[in-house]
Amino acid sequence: MSLTILNALVAVVAAIAFAALNAAYLVWAERRGAGRIQRRPGPNVNGPLGLLQPPCDGVKLMAKQLMIPGGADKALFMVAPVLAMAPAIMSFVTIPFSDTIVAHSMNIGVLMIFAFASLGGMAILFAGWGSRNKYGVMASVRAVSQNISYEVPMLITVITVVMMTGTMDLKGLVAAQAGGFWNWNLMPSLSSPLMPVSFLIFFICALAETNRAPFDLGEAESELVAGFHTEYGSMGFGLFFMGEYANIVIGASLITILFLGGWDCPLGLFPGVWWFLFKIYVLIFSFIWIRWTFPRTTIYGLLNLSWKILIPISLFNLLLTAGLLKVF
């Protein structure tokens, strides 16, 4: 009895440690990647290859003075960064890294992850409203409408995949795609010929849900100074930052599990946790690549993309898959 509690505790702590380490070192990867795309080195002064940059940044952020603007709603102001970071880290508990490595597997894993992701939208609203700053309110209003609009096509696509597989358990979703890349959900199959389109829709929605460019209106640096985290210095800003990167890792893991076969090897030979990690990091590289190439969309362009393009296409795909599943 106590051994299983100990097991569970170790597993949860390990998941949280993986999340935190990733969030910290993804900053390093993004800055180096952005630097190379822009033909400059990126951080290379602190430590070899700049690897000590995240700890130095963390120490700097913790040493800064925590300022709360006068007249701000103290409770909301302090809760918002924690609310941004905590659900992202909690979602790591369900994600299976391989056949045997999972902190706590649930049979409604997908639902749980999306439930936690919706809490992130609330954090943005608290941050913007609680800072008593017009720029913050405008940015958080934009970000919340963006979050809500892009959850819909994401969930419709997930329903399509779950319908094809028949289970909401993350391990079951991966097991249904075992055996080489022709079995992955990415490939069009008889019961669902538009699967690559679904993959693209889910990819775009993941970019939009995590507030990454080209959909980063919430933190539009050149228009609204810093968006919803204008008034946050020191660790509040640090928590928002790390929460965003943890969300990115979760987004990449979800794409891998739902469409790219999880820990499956492309040729079906040696499945394992290294394939899972390789796929996540390729996807994260593409997130970074896209961020540093494209400018920002406008708010109505963003909402038009979701409501007028993504939702009709994903609904059509859902109906098509439902119909074809009955036949094949």
Partner: protein, 156 residues
């Protein structure tokens, strides 16, 4: 209906072209020079702050006429000189003559705009631009140059 899909398709194509360009730039070498581990050679005509030029004996060529001081738009040059008597052969007999010797030549670099009027208006070629660019400090006094002292330090 056709316009709807063609817009989506052409839009995606332009995005992919942009991604390919940045991907190619990812593999090109880095342009930044890692200063201060490596420095770049300054061009010959680079304009740093002015310096005095000396003649063959090591004395400054400046005869303290004040043309540079009058020409400067910002008033950053200040000179002082003293009269000195010396003996010279004139028509076969020794006579005492007077000449001016430079005692102070200060440049206040905090107001200098590097326009070059001082260098151009000097008829004796006594000042020129230096190549000093590494001038960072946190005290104003470091930028009040005593050019006569710098000349002596360069010669010794």
């Amino acid at each position: 209906m056709g316009a709807y899909f063609s817009e989506i398709f052409l839009g995606l194509k332009s995005l992919v072209i942009g991604l390919i360009i940045t991907f190619k730039e990812f593999f090109k070498p880095v342009v930044t020079v890692p200063y201060p581990y490596k420095t770049i050679k300054m061009s010959e005509k680079y304009r740093g702050h002015i310096e005095l030029i000396e003649d063959e004996e090591g004395n400054p060529k400046c005869i303290s006429c004040g043309a540079c001081q009058r020409a400067c738009p910002s008033g950053c040059i200040s000179l002082a000189s003293k009269s000195v008597e010396y003996e010279a052969m004139v028509k076969g007999e020794m006579k005492t003559k007077k000449k001016k010797v430079l005692t102070k030549y200060d440049l206040n670099f905090t107001t200098c705009s590097l326009c070059g009027q001082c260098v151009e208006n000097c008829n004796f070629g006594a000042v020129t631009f230096s190549k000093d660019y590494n001038l960072a400090s946190d005290r104003k006094e470091d930028f009040h140059f005593d050019l006569l002292k710098r000349l002596k330090e360069r010669n010794s």
